[in-house]
């Protein structure tokens, strides 16, 4: 802090931040423009394009689908991810080393390859319905984040507390829910939020797992942009940014944002 930084570096940083935030301001401006095309600076002010989102049934439908898939997918990922993270911490010596590598595969393998492979094997070959395939894809997609975040929380948990409870006669399952889980609560919240945001924003996995009447919001945005160049998508984008802001406020209130930045 005391060391001086070269002014050129500071100027560069300012430019990088203008580059980071500027386009988001432009989306905001375009969303309230009273024109039938995307314009910035906005010409006139209107909230018509926000109303328009609800008038287009495809947007209404995909917003609901996206929320359903993100909530249920994240819930399933927590359901299978928490025990896995617990096992990786508590029973590491009894488990093979490749197991933790297995759980990062959904990040390592390109998402678009996972989406295409799920379409081929699960949707077409096994005949699993589109919505269920979409759920499977999103559960897989967020599972590594869930396991990683909860493992990190468990790594700083003192398991001797759990042992004390068990040796005093508490049932291991009851101990888990009354002792272990409450102690890693912030990890579970962080995992939930990270997974939810990842799922809501996903394109590459959902891309192949859409069918008649079933699609997610990001895929619908891509489809809409291809046909219309009106500000509706800008207003949808503003709604998504508001969702991000709400999430960041929740995180700040519960955990502090620096936790997530890591």
């Amino acid at each position: 802090m005391s060391r001086s930084i070269h002014p050129a570096l500071i100027a560069m940083t300012v430019l990088v931040y203008i580059f980071l935030i500027g386009p988001l301001v432009i989306i905001f401006g375009a969303s309230v423009s009273d024109t039938t095309f995307l314009a910035f600076p906005p010409q006139g002010l209107t909230l018509h394009w926000f109303e328009n989102i609800w008038e287009i049934s495809a947007f209404r439908r995909t917003i609901v689908t996206s929320l359903q898939v993100a909530l249920v997918g994240t819930f399933i990922a927590l359901l299978i991810g928490i025990p896995a993270a617990y096992a990786l911490n508590r029973h590491r010596i009894h488990l093979p080393g490749w197991l933790s590598t297995l759980f990062v595969l959904p990040i390592l393998v390109p998402e678009i390859v996972i989406g295409f492979s799920l379409l081929r094997s699960v949707n077409v070959e096994l005949g699993v319905p589109v919505f269920a395939s979409l759920l499977i894809g999103h559960t897989l997609l967020v599972l590594p984040y869930v396991i990683r975040v909860i493992s990190a929380a468990l790594a700083s948990f003192d398991f001797s507390i759990e042992e004390a409870a068990v040796s005093l006669g508490s049932h291991p399952v009851k101990t888990f829910f009354t002792i272990v889980l409450p102690n890693v609560r912030s990890g579970v919240i962080a995992a939930f939020i990270l997974a939810f945001i990842t799922s809501i924003n996903d394109v590459s996995v959902s891309l192949f797992l859409t069918g008649p009447g079933i699609s997610t919001l990001p895929i619908q945005i891509l489809a809409h942009v291809e046909q219309f160049f009106d500000p509706t998508v800008a207003s949808v984008s503003v709604l998504l940014m508001m969702l991000t802001i709400i999430v960041m406020i929740i995180v700040e209130r519960t955990l502090g944002l620096t936790v997530v930045a890591k």
Partner: protein, 274 residues
């Protein structure tokens, strides 16, 4: 008993990854080896086509440029941010987290507004008198690269802030007190210590841009096809699933090789471990 408990607890997640990732992806890849026309025929076809070679080469080029520019800009920014007073650092970190949590589609879409025919960029250039009528900025390699840098720079900044904060301050003070200029300290102390982290950041950005779909789709269209958009076109437009599987297999090989080789190198280059 304990061994069993570990397996039991991790089995649902293990089963999910095996059934829905390993088996389907293995099936996709195995299709390319059992296709009619003999072993490796789909690969021969891929590399025989000048168009498909161009797609692969363009993907490499776009991902490499994106990585290098994000690395340079990200390092400079992260360096300044990590030297800021705490309150300012928090604000700057939040400003980098926000775009990161905003979806790729939204952030790519912003560049449609900026680079479109009647977009912000064309209007500005016309207003400045630099051009007389709108020029085509969209659907060029440059538009894809700019948007990808925009998408991945927050990730790079956050990774590199973490890397720089891990460097003990004592080392920098020691270097300064021994008479090294800030530049020399940066080059001879900070940079070698940061190299493994820089490699991690570079691998993240390279693999993510190599496999990206939404950004090249919106800003490159069919004219600037990359591996991701090409895979989608083969699978969903021309319904040539063998060809799509071949593209998928090549992507998997490129990504796995990059990650394995680079993490090895990063481990080797870690001066703290030596």
């Amino acid at each position: 008993m304990k061994r069993l408990a570990g397996w039991m607890l991790s089995s649902p997640a293990t089963l999910a990854v095996s059934l829905f990732l390993i088996i389907p992806v293995a099936a996709t890849i195995s299709v390319t080896f059992t296709a009619p026309g003999g072993l490796l025929a789909p690969y021969a076809e891929f590399f025989d086509s000048a168009f498909q070679r161009t797609v692969l080469w363009r993907t490499f080029e776009v991902a490499a440029i994106t990585t290098v520019v994000s690395l340079v800009l990200g390092l400079m920014t992260a360096y300044v941010v990590s030297r800021c007073p705490p309150w300012m650092k928090s604000v700057l970190i939040i400003l980098a987290v926000f775009p990161l949590l905003t979806g790729v589609v939204v952030r790519s879409f912003a560049w449609l507004i900026i680079l479109g025919r009647n977009g912000v960029m064309n209007n500005t250039l016309e207003w400045l008198g630099l051009i007389e009528r709108p020029i085509a900025l969209l659907y060029t390699q440059t538009s894809v690269v700019i948007a990808l840098i925009y998408i991945f720079i927050p990730l790079m900044i956050l990774v590199l802030i973490g890397v720089l904060e891990n460097i003990p301050d004592d080392l920098l003070q020691a270097s300064a007190s021994l008479g090294a200029s800030p530049t020399r300290t940066f080059v001879q102390v900070v940079l070698p210590l940061a190299t493994p982290g820089l490699i991690v950041g570079a691998v993240l950005v390279f693999t993510a841009s190599f496999t990206s779909y939404a950004t090249p789709h919106l800003l490159g269209g069919t004219r600037q096809m990359m591996m991701g958009t090409f895979l989608h076109q083969r699978a969903m437009v021309t319904f040539d699933w063998v060809s799509a599987s071949t593209v998928a297999a090549i992507m998997v090989v490129v990504i796995m090789t990059t990650v394995l080789v680079m993490t090895r190198i990063a481990k080797r280059l870690n001066p703290m471990a030596a």
